[in-house]
Each structure stands twice: as C-alpha cells, then as structure tokens.
Symmetry: D3
Subunit: 313 residues, 6 copies
Amino acid sequence: MPTGPADSFKQPRFANSSTFARLPRLDEVGDEASVIVLGVPFDSGTSYRPGARFGPTAIRQGSKLLRPYHPPLDLEPFNIVQVADAGDVSVNPFDIVETLQIVEAAADEHLAKGRRVITLGGDHTIALALLRSVSKQHGPVALVHFDAHLDTWDTYFGAPYTHGTPFRRAFEEGLLAEESCIHVGTHGPLYARSDLEDDRGFGFALISADRFSEIGPRAVGEEIKRRVGTRPVYLSIDIDVLDPGFAPGTGTPEAGGLSSRELLQSIRAMHGVKLVGGDVVEVSPAYDHAEITSIAAAHVAYEMLALMVAPST
Amino acid sequence: MPTGPADSFKQPRFANSSTFARLPRLDEVGDEASVIVLGVPFDSGTSYRPGARFGPTAIRQGSKLLRPYHPPLDLEPFNIVQVADAGDVSVNPFDIVETLQIVEAAADEHLAKGRRVITLGGDHTIALALLRSVSKQHGPVALVHFDAHLDTWDTYFGAPYTHGTPFRRAFEEGLLAEESCIHVGTHGPLYARSDLEDDRGFGFALISADRFSEIGPRAVGEEIKRRVGTRPVYLSIDIDVLDPGFAPGTGTPEAGGLSSRELLQSIRAMHGVKLVGGDVVEVSPAYDHAEITSIAAAHVAYEMLALMVAPST
Amino acid sequence: MPTGPADSFKQPRFANSSTFARLPRLDEVGDEASVIVLGVPFDSGTSYRPGARFGPTAIRQGSKLLRPYHPPLDLEPFNIVQVADAGDVSVNPFDIVETLQIVEAAADEHLAKGRRVITLGGDHTIALALLRSVSKQHGPVALVHFDAHLDTWDTYFGAPYTHGTPFRRAFEEGLLAEESCIHVGTHGPLYARSDLEDDRGFGFALISADRFSEIGPRAVGEEIKRRVGTRPVYLSIDIDVLDPGFAPGTGTPEAGGLSSRELLQSIRAMHGVKLVGGDVVEVSPAYDHAEITSIAAAHVAYEMLALMVAPST
Amino acid sequence: MPTGPADSFKQPRFANSSTFARLPRLDEVGDEASVIVLGVPFDSGTSYRPGARFGPTAIRQGSKLLRPYHPPLDLEPFNIVQVADAGDVSVNPFDIVETLQIVEAAADEHLAKGRRVITLGGDHTIALALLRSVSKQHGPVALVHFDAHLDTWDTYFGAPYTHGTPFRRAFEEGLLAEESCIHVGTHGPLYARSDLEDDRGFGFALISADRFSEIGPRAVGEEIKRRVGTRPVYLSIDIDVLDPGFAPGTGTPEAGGLSSRELLQSIRAMHGVKLVGGDVVEVSPAYDHAEITSIAAAHVAYEMLALMVAPST
Amino acid sequence: MPTGPADSFKQPRFANSSTFARLPRLDEVGDEASVIVLGVPFDSGTSYRPGARFGPTAIRQGSKLLRPYHPPLDLEPFNIVQVADAGDVSVNPFDIVETLQIVEAAADEHLAKGRRVITLGGDHTIALALLRSVSKQHGPVALVHFDAHLDTWDTYFGAPYTHGTPFRRAFEEGLLAEESCIHVGTHGPLYARSDLEDDRGFGFALISADRFSEIGPRAVGEEIKRRVGTRPVYLSIDIDVLDPGFAPGTGTPEAGGLSSRELLQSIRAMHGVKLVGGDVVEVSPAYDHAEITSIAAAHVAYEMLALMVAPST
Amino acid sequence: MPTGPADSFKQPRFANSSTFARLPRLDEVGDEASVIVLGVPFDSGTSYRPGARFGPTAIRQGSKLLRPYHPPLDLEPFNIVQVADAGDVSVNPFDIVETLQIVEAAADEHLAKGRRVITLGGDHTIALALLRSVSKQHGPVALVHFDAHLDTWDTYFGAPYTHGTPFRRAFEEGLLAEESCIHVGTHGPLYARSDLEDDRGFGFALISADRFSEIGPRAVGEEIKRRVGTRPVYLSIDIDVLDPGFAPGTGTPEAGGLSSRELLQSIRAMHGVKLVGGDVVEVSPAYDHAEITSIAAAHVAYEMLALMVAPST
C-alpha cells in the first residue's frame, strides 16, 4: 500500500510539509516510488516577464489543499502507485545549455529506475530536456501541448534554446512522433503567417482556444485521443493556455485563453491515453495573486497524475 | 413605501454610508423592516486561510455600486418590502460553541419579529446557527448549497463545529428536510469515496461544477426547483463555488469553479422557490484584489434579496 | 510598405519602445499614417473609482507582447496601412468641458488628414468628443457600445458631462444614426425601469451579458451587423463589459460580465462593418493586477485595428 | 461623562462600527459633542494619482485598533470631551468650487454649535474651505503645515483651486495670521527657486525634512510653538510628508520623507498650542498596502485629537 | 564540524530546500543538533487580523538569502554548534488550550535532549507554552519582550489564553524572574492607565519606542543587559514592534514603531546575555508584500541564533 | 539654453512623455546633450529574484513627478547642461558576455561624443561594462558603491559575470583606482570572513549600514570625499542598499538597510567630487508596490544628475 499524503485531519494543511500535495519525499519511500514530481526552478529561457524559477515552490504551496480522492475518475491516484516528491533539480541559472544537460541527466536517472516524471517548471525551455530523456526510453513521443503559443519558433537574438523554441528543437532532434502531435488552446497574435506553416511542417495539429470554445472539452479530449492513438504521450502544459484572469502569474500572458475548468475537463477527457511523462510550466509567482495561478497549476499536475495512474478502461 | 438606498445622484457612492447597498440601518426603520442583512464576522472555524471575519465589512464596501432596479426580474427589491442593514453580531472569536449560540439567538430575535435574514459571513460554520434558527420557525428546510465543497465532513482534529461540518451537524439535528437538499457547483478532489456516500446518506443531491457546465444555469435552476418543491428553502452560498479567478478572496479555493455570471444566473433561475433565509460566506478580503470577490458576493446577496422578495409568478 | 513594430527578435520587448504595440510614433511616419492610436489620459468624469488617467500608459505597456500577425482573420494589420502612435492629448484634469473641446480638436486634426483614430482612455466621458468629431466627417454614426452600463443617464450632481452620460448627450446632439445603435454586454442592476425605457427612446438595441451567454459571440456579431448595416460605425468599448475577474482594473465593476475570449470573438465576428473610429476606455491601473486588465484592453484595441483595416469580404 | 469607543473586550474590533476609532456617531450624542471627526471624500483637485475620495473610509477602517488611553500625554482623549464621528460631507466630484462651498458650509454649521472639527480628506484642496470656516470664527490662524510640498503654487492649467494651491489662496483671502505659519517636512524638488521666494512672501517659515532629521522632533515642536505663539492654530497634515515607505497610499509621493514615528513625536511635541482645527489629507487607498498608510493617518488624527483636548500645562 | 546550510554556489537559493536558512532538517542530523528552529503555525489566539498560521512557512521562505557569516559579531553561527530545522508542531486550530499543551510537550522533548529552541510563530499566545517549558528547566526566566503591545492584558471575551495575555499568565504561573523582565519598543495607545500600572506590578520595566529613538540601540542593549543580569533569558519578539512600513504583514499594526535596523542592532547589543530560548511571532503573510516582513523576521531569528551561540566575551 | 522637461502646468504629468523626468529624447536634442540617461533592461545576471529587466521603464515612470529645481543644492540641473534620455540599450537576455559588450559599446559611443552617462539598470552585472567604458576615457576610477552587498564575489555556478561579481572583475581588469574605492551601506550576513578579507585586498574601504547610522549622512559624505580625493568617480547605487521597507522592489533584499532620506542626503553630501558616470540598479518592479522603489530610484538618479552638473564650490 503506497504511502499517501499527510493526514490533514491530524496535521493542519498549513503545517510542516512542503512537498507536492503533502506527499512523501522521495528519500522517504525510495525504491517504492513509480511516479515522481520533480521541480525545475529555471527561468533563464524567458523572453518577457521572468520569475518561473520560483514556480516549483509556488505550485507545491498551492497544492496543499489537494485531497486524495478524484471524483470524476472515481479513484485515489496516490493509492494506486507510490507517488513521491523528488525535490528540485539544481540548475545553473547562468547557463541554459548546461541546465538542459543537468535536467536531462536527472530525468534519465529517474526513468532508469522505472519511474515516470511529472515536472513542475520553470520556463518552457526545460521541456526539451524532458523530451530528450523520455524519448530515449520510449522512442519518439506524441506531444500534447496546451499553450497560448506554438513554441516552435527558431531563435531569439540568436539563441537556439529558449522558452519559445523547445518543440522546434525537439522536432529537429527527432524526439516527436510523426503526425501525432497537437497544440491545444493557442490564442493571441503571432509573428507571421509562416509561424503556422512552419508549425504544420513539424507535424503539429492545432485546436485554438477559439475552436476549443466551440466544440467543448469533451470533443477536445476525443480529438487529442484520435491524434495520439496508442503512442506514448508526453503532456506539456504551459499555464498561459489559461486566460490571464485565471493565471495572472505567468510570463507571456495573452488575453482570450481557456478557463481553469475547461483545461481540467479536457485533461480528464484524455483518459485512456498512454501518458509517459508531463510538465506544468511558466508559473511566475511574483505576478500571481492569492496563489490563483499556482493553485490552478497544482490542480493541473494532479489531473496529470490521475491520468497517468488511472487504469485504462 | 419603504425607505430605499441613499440617492447616489445626490450623495456620492464613495461617501458616508457603510450599510449594505447603502440601505438604511435597522435602527432607522425599526419595525418596518421585513428583510434584514446581518453580518457575522467570524472565522475561527476555518481550516486553511483565515480572514473571513473581515468579510461583512468587505461585502458591504463591495455593495456600494448596487442600484435599486433589477432588470432580469424587472423589479425594485428595496421598494417591495423594507430591507435594512442590522449590522454585525458580536461574536466571540475564541469560542465556536458560544458564537453559534450568539448567532442563533440574534437570528431568533429577528425571526420572532417577522423578519427574514440574509447573512453575510464569516466562515461557513455559522450556517449551522442560522439553520437552527430558521428551522425552529419553519420546520426542516430544503437546503440549497452552492459550494466547492460538501461541508458534510464529521470532525477536524476532534472539533465537531468547523466550516467543513455544518451540514452534517444540521442533518444530525434534524434541521434539513428529507430528500430536498442539494449541493451545486462542487469541484476539486475529496478525501475519499465515502465522502460522497456519506453525503448521499444525509439526503443531498449534487450538481457538480462539471455537470453545471454541461447543462447550464437555467437547467440548474429547474433541477433545484424540482428538488425543493414548495418547501421552505434556505440558500447557503460559499463564495468558493466560484473559480479562484472570480473569487481569489476566500480561504479554501479550488480551481475549476463557476463563473460569476453562471452563479448569478442560476440564482435567478430559482425564481419561484420559497426562500426563508440565506447566507453568503467565506469572503476573506486579505486575499482579495480590487474587491472582485466582495463585489461578486455583494451581487450574490442582491440576487438573493431579489429572489426573496420577488412575487411568485 | 508601412513601418511595422520594432523587431522583437532584435530588440527585447521589455526594452525601449513605449508606443502601442511597439509601433512607430506618429512623428516618425507622419503623412504616411492612415490609422493612429491616440491616448486620452482623463478621468475627471468618473463617479466611483478614479485612475483611468493612467489608462493610456498602462494599455501601451500591456501591448508590448502583441505580435503583427492576426491568425483568425489571417492578416497583418500593420502591413495593410500605416498605423502609428500619436501619443496623448494634453487634457485639463480640472475642466471637463474644456477637455472635451481639446479632445475633439485633436481628433478633428487627425481626421482632417484622412486618419482614422483608435482612442485609449481615459474614462468614458471622452467618447462624446470623439463622436462629435467623427460625425462631423461621416454624419451620424452607428454606435456599437460594449459596456456593463448604458451610459445614457442624464446628469450626476447636476453635471451633464460625465462618464455615465456621453451617449445621451450624443443622441441629443444628433451624433447617432437612428435605430442603428446597440449596447452589448450590459449587466448589473440599474437605477430604475425608466433607464431602459429612456435608452430605447434614444434608439438603442441591447444584448445583455445574459443574452450574450445564451447566443454566443458569433450570433452577437451577426446581430450587430444587422443593426448597423452599411452605416459608418463607431465602436466604443468600456473594459468593464468584462467580468471583474478578467478586468479588475476599472472604476465601476459589476459582477457577471463577459470573458475576454467572448469579447474578442464578438469583435472579430463584426468583420465587414465599416469602422470609422473606436475607443477602449475605463482601464484604471491602480486596481489592476499583473497587467491583466491592460493586456485585455491592448488585445481589444488590436482587434479593433484589425477590424478597421481588414479588407471587407 | 462622554460616551467613548465601543468596548473592544465585548465587541470585536472587526465587527460592526465604521466610525473613527469606533466612537459614537454624531446623531447618537448630538449636542454633547464638542469635537467631531468629519470626512470629505473628494479628490477632484488632484494633479497626479487620484483616489483620495476613498480616504475617509480607509482612515476610519485603519482607526479600528486605536485604544482610548494615550501614554505619552497620559490622558484619555475621549473622556475629556465628547468626540463623535459626523460622517462625510456630500461633495460634488464634478465641481471644485461648489464643493469648497459645501465643505465650508458644513464646517460653519459645526463651528456654530461650538464644535471643533478634525477633517479626514480627501485631497488638500479642501483645506481652503476649512480655513475659510475656522478663520471666520477665530480670525486669521497660524497654519502648521506638514507636507512634502509647499502647496502655495498659483494655478494648474488655469485652475485656481487645486490640491497644490490652497495656501496661496488662503493667504490671498487673508485667512492666515502674519508671520505665524510654517511648513514642516518638505522634501523633493520644486519647480523653481521662485517657489521658495513666493512662499516666504506669504509668510511661511520652513523646516525641511533634511533639517527635521538634524534637529529631531522635539526641537521641531519647540520651533513650531515659537512660531505660532498663542495664536489659534490650524494643523494641516498631508500624509505625503511621510516617506513613501511609510505612506505608499498617496497621490504625489516624494522619496526622502519623515518616518511615522518622527511625525507622531513632533505632533506630540506641539503640546500646548491652541489647536482650533485640523485635517489629515491625501490618503489614497488604491495605492496603499495592508492599510499601512491609513493606519498612519488614523494615528495622526488621534494625536491631533489628543493635542486638541489635552489640558494645557 | 556541524552541517551547515546548503551551498548556494552549487544549489540555487530558489531551489529545493524549505528549511530555515537552508539548514539541515533535524532528522538529517538528529542527536548532533543543539539548537533547533521550530515552527508553530497557530493563530487562533488572534484578536484582529489573523493569518500568522502561515508565518513559519513564510519566515523560512524569507530566510533563503541568509548567509553563514555574521559580520558584526564576526562569527559563523552554524559552525559553532549544530543548528537544525525541526519542522512544525501539529497544532489544533480549534483548541487553544490543547495547542498550548501540544507546543509545551514538543518543546519539552527538545529541551530534554539538551537542545535550545528558537520558535517561529504563529501568534503570541504560544509564547506561554514555550515559557512553561523553558522555565521547567531553567527556573523563572528574565523575559526580554520586543513588541508594540504589553501583552499582559487579562482576558478577551472571557478567554484567558489569547495573543494579548501570555505574559500575565506567565507571571501568574511564576514563570518569570522577579524584577528582571522588560518590554522594548512599545508604541500606540492603550486601553487605560491601569494597563501600565498592572504591568509594572508584574515586574516589567519598559523602554518605549519613543525612548528607544532617543537613546539608540546600543544604550537599549545595555539597559536590557543590566535588567536581566546573569539570569537565563527568554527573548520574545513580536514583529509588530517594527513600524508597519517595515512589517506590514502582521495582525495588530501600530504606527510609530522601530526600524528593522534598530531592532537588529539592539539584539546584537544584547551580546553576552544567557539566552535559553526565544521566538519571533505574529508574521501574517497575507498582509505582507514582497516578503519584507518575513525577511525582517528571518533576520531577527538569525540574530537570535547568533546571540544564542556566540561565545560570551 | 538647454531644453528642459515638459511643462507640467501645460501637459499633465500622467500624459505623454515616457522619458526620464519628462526630459527630451536624445534624438530631439542630439549634439547638444552633454549628460544622458541610458536604460539597460537586463537581469540575466541575477541570482535570486529576477525582474530588473523592467527596471528602466519603471524608474522612468517613477520619475514623472520630478521637478526641475533642486532646493538643497539651489540649482536647476537641467538648465546647467543639456540632459536627455537616450532610451534603452538592446541587450541579449540569453547572453551575458555579449550583453556586456553591447553595453560597453553603447557607452563608448556616448562618451566619444563627450557625454557623461547615468545608467538605469538592470541588474548589477552591467556596472562592469560601464566601468570598462568610463575607465577607457578617464583611467582607473574611484568607485563609490552603495549596496547591501559587496559584489566582489568570484563566481556563481562557475559563471564569472553575474550581479554578485562585477567589482572583482573590475579590480582584476585594472579599472579601479588603487585605495580609492569604498562600499557604503552594506548590511546582512556574508558567506565567510574571507569575503571581507578578499574585498579589502581589492582596495575597498567600507562604511556598513550600522556605522552609517552612527555617524550620519554628512560624515559619510565627508569620508567618501576623503577616500576619492580628486580622482574621477564612478557612483554605483544598488537600490538594495535601502531597507526592504523603502525598496521592496528588488532581487536580493536584506533587512537593516538605509532609509531613502539617508541615501539621498549622503549623495548630496558628496558634493564636490568629480563624477564621471554612475548607475542605479536592481529595481525589480514585479516586487514593488505603488512605485515606492522606482520613485526612490528616480530620486537617486536625480541626485546623481545634480551632483554631476553642480558647479564645484
């Protein structure tokens, strides 16, 4: 029987634990853990408002109210497998390339032990490191990407590795399964028509926030499932897919995004996909208010965990 | 003709009055009043972020922009009966049981004079006192409960009276009409599957936020009306039924809630029920921003007042 | 070829430029400009929370992330005609009447040079000056008005020119095309039933936020287009048409408004109208958080620009 | 025996009362009152950040922790004479001249009944109205003026009555006792050397914040007392005399001001002057944080009340 | 050689550790620890603004920038003895008396192992539990108490154990050394002259904030040292001894307090006293901004640690 | 006669201009300018809270209230020489070394035209580029450095160029005049005793915040003047030299710093030094409140400008 969160009827939620969802630390459960939550406090790939380096701490703080039973899926995710918090990776804020290597190595080590990893960012640059690691084990993956932006731009100021470019690099490095990837929730203007053309060339389908609002979260879930099929799926969620009203605490906010409920419902509607890894990124607490962004991100990570451990029907 | 709010074409809204909706104080209209707004500045039953003791002051401040004409119902609620602000109950922040007695006694006194009471909380613990009072006069009531949570848990740290337990106590004390109560807007994880099972055992139906989003506010209103029938209704609204984006100023926020518009529309859609009392609780201003939570709560209380005084069709 | 925004792959978005969307200043492009963005930092017509005098600066700051390509309409608005930022009008904060004259004169000057003007407010009082100017050139215009409020009240404290009265004055002055104007997104209580009756007398149709939520943004766009026909359209958007969750930074917030996405989608759905001028008003940054209101307003202005320059189909 | 504040051992400070220091309302004590606190929620004379119209409400909220015993002067100010809260004057936000007349008339009425008035602003414009009233009864008064600024400028945009000009007008109207007035705590740059020359011409002495820091609050008090002698004194305190670190919630902040402790100590050090009226102005709550500015202002008003009622030694 | 803080040249300060000053957890060093930092997340004894239950988490977050070398005392406190973070005590937010017992028992256990305890509050109620524990081992202690308030009131609403009464209870229980205790930094009004008289009766001397500002921190330190002599000293610091400008994040702020520098300097000036225990309380993060209060509190705790381990000269 | 700031009696301060102190842009005055204000929006050298990339915009916004006459020095700095705002340098947020080159080149270009430069940061890394430039023209300079920290550390995570290391690099590169440099206002703990020893080895004297508070700003100014003598002086001011109560908006705050008034007075007290360049850095607006940090920084830059242009006596 896995060790679950601290009992909140005995230990107040505002006391003591600083792990995600008040779960045990990895060093407390060690080899038992088969899913871990990993922080990557890095934001040196940010092009506008920085601060996502404080994201992991904030999301953990925002996760203290999470409870162990998930009503829509009727399961207790922390009872199915051992989930643990593996703390933060010690990144180098002054070196993007080195940090990508550090993060990849950290993920490799966990995967080598048979663990799946849900990452708390950090800016979106780090997704590249995680895709490198996960694709080493699973081969090219079907990327499901919730974001206001495409993140398939080429370079900023000559820099190839930034939070706007991870998925172009991933495509170029062969980490993505062909014709299986999809962006969800994009909104806001782009640089040029060619952004969309390039993106299609990398094998992405796209459900914009506008189209999302027309078809609803269930249909979105169905469309994602058709797109990814039975391939291994990596789910990367940039919190700026939410409207700034729901997620002010982020670095490149765009008006017109999803509501928290829409996002959570569409993750649930993906039930049945083969989720091999995921991340929630771009939470920048200095711009948050009353933890609303980090609470939303904590719920997103919880949905991801439930999706990961839920028995397929 | 009832005395209405201060005339905002003569007295600026930012001047002088500190009553709800700039209505007269109870001592100014006395026996004329048949509906009162009552503050209960109490938060010692809170399990996470406290501060709802400042809720009544904040909701009144947030109510200064309310105007006397209600377009959707085409009525002027303050012209139909005399509504007045009865100020705050002097609670004891260091004694929950005593406070429940103080609040019950205060409500009893108003009900004995033929007044109906809309309460501004304060945390949800106080709903128990109000149900005790209202059921003494009307018998067991049909509880319509908007909330992220069920609030039918048993105890926290051995404490029977907290903001997570009022409706289990109310059930045990026989204050609730059988098979007539309903939760609306629940979202977020629970402690265990048994939470839902217990809750059904207490006679509650449930419309989750997910289901709400599928059927819409009108159908929600219809379903509530079918559930409560012609029984006396007590309407208890925890502001955390709203998504944190709409109500950051609360103590136990859960991502994925209702929008303000959905909440207001579903209250309106209850038009025709026999409303004998109600409350708006869990506004914690220290976590609010630009009064958005207290403005939402003020509009909720206004809808409740309109519902209470509207002629049934 | 028009001069576009500063290249954000060479000059960081957080550097240097303080113009709307990092466009050129008017003095840099001069006679080439056919559409300008004009700030009116004035809030002395405000009846509740002031501060919209800082609106133009805030909206420009919130516009720095705007990019040149507009996916839903598949166009690059700044490439079609020369758009420039004309800076702010030097208003007199101590004299409403004089300010209306100053603003009208400034607009006249631009219109005389064949420029169309998108104004960044400032409180809603200033719309009267802009309607005076635009109707001198185009004759009475079809006003499309997104707002929580009607803004057709008569006087406050005897003052005829305030942010609650511009469109009654505009009607009285014959600036509005008969039976062609429309309010969209109204919500919250009014002073009296006669507010609506008077308003209809001035020739306004009305789509409330409640009705908006039932029919959706496309149908709203269609209804607007039927209402305005081929007449010259002036589009005035009070940011408080949004729910306070999306736009806390405003002066007279009312719970139950539109989402940012709904607002942006309905502007887009007006594609094809003959837009001769417009404004975005009532952004009050002191009440904003993390720029969410000014970012929403910046996107609204961007949609308006796209609507103005888009080739009609 | 005067009626004092509500008993905070029986009624929690966060409950019920919305008067200054939880004192009785004027209508509760009527003719007994010999000192009143009066709100003037007006900010249309503001040249930069507005919002002082919400000052009176904020200062009252910030005064809830004030207790009845004043240790440094060893007295209970509310036991010496009856002090009451007279509410707010109904100003006209759209007409400065009319508002000055309304405020003057309101003050006249109180003075005619033998009451002394402490005013909570509002912007500094209103001091002119209060000087007009108080000088009608006492003749020209010795003005003691704590402020970052001189407030003896001539006009802004042609407007003679603004928050930067009240004391030049007062001088011109003969309201000030010759060679008896003094500015305290000025800091920040000025428009021109002539500002200081003009000011001296109006009969003002000056203790800058720099000099204040050299001689300390006791010596400042002594210097003020020498300046005013036995003349009737009007004490006008602009909260921006404090450094922005102590008073962020104000409209024209200047770095380098006094600390709260220095300000309170220097008021106490004026003990013995004949105080006939006073004001605390320029609290703009939208820029405040955690009520620190309004708490400072509440303490300032409390010191002023103590100074006013303390028996002279 | 004690285990010190995580090396911030290898692990970024914003990564991983959530202990005070990034020190090891107690379970990592166990029997080696001779000084521990202990959180008590409790605020049910609060009479005004609650929220200090989140104080320990906030102070730890605010302590991440602390470095190991203390220049004024020229020592490395974490190298002299093993210091560790013992996490939080699991209090009962619904029972003050039980919580006092829990906290006392927790402290007893540490003291029994020869550890000295620095407590992070939490509201001031908990100081009673800590004095009970420390006096069991050391006999009555000399209490050095920095606070805006006396905290020797009797009861609130009949409650004997609140944050305003711990030291009266301590006196009554014989926990305080006679004529050896002292309040430092009191400011703001009191309930009555008898507050001071009672307080002297309990054996307290007093250096008010006013007197502090006259004599300066060195003389304050000397006066404290004369007062406590060679007795065991317990140092209790309510963060509201600071002016609200330096510590907005607290529950009962009073204008006119100390600066952070004055507080830190006066603690240092106590060098040589025999410090057997201490606490920093009343940090309420919901009212804080940019962590300024929790950073100040973290520095205060660090000074206390340095004072505790510094070799006496 | 130099062109001064926009006339604020004609153009409201909240309108139009976005330059420092509402001065002309460099392109408006060109060759006339002999002193310029230059923004460097860069924060990739930050080790803790980032965000100083938005510093230049924020300081300019905070400078809008600055007026042209400086009372303590009795001069109008913008009338003595032409001062202009040269906008921001286009840095590369993803490359520290390249950015140092870009900044150095930009400064070189201005210096080559005989201009002196006051830089608005940005994090402290950029001071190295400015010292490289200024020492090319003036030879090694006497560095006067106000800061909480020494900024003479060696590397972080192997990175030689960060905001904690610029002055060690400057020393190694021979940019600093021997035995002429001085730190002022240091406070907070250090990594090790060797930090101070190393620092002295680089030729720095030191006036800690503690010593500053004992001797006062005049004596500090005198001590600085003795230290620098007649050498060319570069004045680098990290805003974190202020206590967090005065400057919350910064990245590595340490409790116990200077007040704004102390800082401004000590700059003034340096009157007579030969100031050849300077910077104000580390303003991070996301952590600021009500612009208090950026207002303080704007006043600091204004004092620096006055110091630079004041005729030596």
